[in-house]
């Protein structure tokens, strides 16, 4: 299994394979996500209906999968999505809770309620990219390379997927960070990727990517 591309997003910048592709000092996560969406000329009006967590997941996947042409390489049922995060959908859960806390002013919003499960991140990515393979969200205190490796490796070993979008997506109030990787079947990836871009998918490499110094703008090959 190879990591053929990875994308990191944090408040103020976006990187692909370690190189900055977008930078902006925004006032808030919502402002940053909106301006990044506009600057990357993504056309998906449903983006504006999403909560910050889903916007971050969708934006990260858009950048990761740009020009990847996955559906011409793999059957949609063999593309998986495995995401880890720490705060689940807590930001939206709290928003929903506020809307139902006053019996005299009880107007829960259906469009808020649909984002009160973290799995909606994988759902939105799957709908957008027509992906039908295995998908799951796991809650973990921090980006955990071992969990990512174990789950994704299992899916590949059991031949449930030939390709997987995996990594970390976290958004809670002021916090915003994601690191998504595109993991592909070794033979297929090698035949389609330049050798110098190949990164082996193993726990130490995932760990290194998670810990990559984001202040350093240079791409450090894992």
């Amino acid at each position: 299994m190879l990591i053929t591309k990875y994308c990191q997003v944090k408040l103020s910048e976006i990187r692909i394979n370690g190189s900055i592709v977008y930078a902006e000092k925004a006032e808030s996560p919502a402002d940053f996500l909106k301006s990044a969406y506009r600057s990357l000329t993504i056309q998906y009006p449903k983006f504006f209906k999403m909560d910050n967590l889903c916007k971050l997941a969708l934006l990260s996947s858009e950048i990761l999968l740009k020009d990847a042409d996955l559906l011409t390489k793999y059957p949609s049922e063999e593309i998986g999505i495995i995401i880890l995060n720490s705060s689940s959908s807590l930001e939206t859960d709290e928003k929903h809770q506020e809307s139902i806390s006053d019996r005299g002013n009880y107007f829960p919003s259906p469009s808020v309620f649909v984002y009160t499960l973290p799995n909606i991140m994988t759902g939105e990515i799957a709908i957008r990219h027509r992906i039908k393979g295995e998908n799951a969200v796991f809650i973990s205190e921090k980006p955990d390379a071992q969990i990512i490796f174990r789950v994704v490796n299992e899916l590949f070993s059991k031949e449930r997927v030939s390709c997987c979008i995996t990594g970390w997506v976290e958004a809670y109030h002021g916090r915003l960070s994601s690191c998504l990787m595109l993991v592909e079947n070794e033979e297929k990836a090698k035949s389609l990727t330049e050798p110098e871009e190949i990164i082996i998918f193993d726990p130490s490499t995932i760990e290194r990517i998670f810990k990559e110094d984001l202040q350093d703008g240079t791409y450090r090959k894992a």
């Binding site: 909106k34 504006f48 259906p110 469009s111 649909v114």
Partner: protein
């Protein structure tokens, strides 16, 4: 402000139609399908809008299909039910 214009602003706000301006919405044009491209969650949000902003409760969500045909049908429905 005319009710149809007020409704257009409210629809844009509650449905987060970021790139849509009130003048982009045809008063008689379809809200769903080829019109604004709204979905089933948007329909539920419009039911909440009628209850929250106009005090009109739609008991049967199936009624929504007729009421939410266009901004005009929504306005007519509001005027009719507010008189009662």
């Amino acid at each position: 402000m005319e009710l149809t214009e007020k409704l257009k602003k409210e629809i844009i706000e509650v449905l987060n139609l970021e790139d849509v301006k009130p003048e982009d919405i045809d008063t008689d044009g379809p809200l769903f399908g080829d019109g604004l491209g709204l979905d089933s969650i948007d329909a539920l949000e419009l039911i909440v809008l009628l209850e929250k902003n106009y005090g009109i409760k739609i008991e049967d969500p199936k009624e929504g299909r007729k009421i939410f045909t266009s901004v005009r049908t929504m306005a007519d429905f509001i005027l009719e039910h507010q008189k009662k």
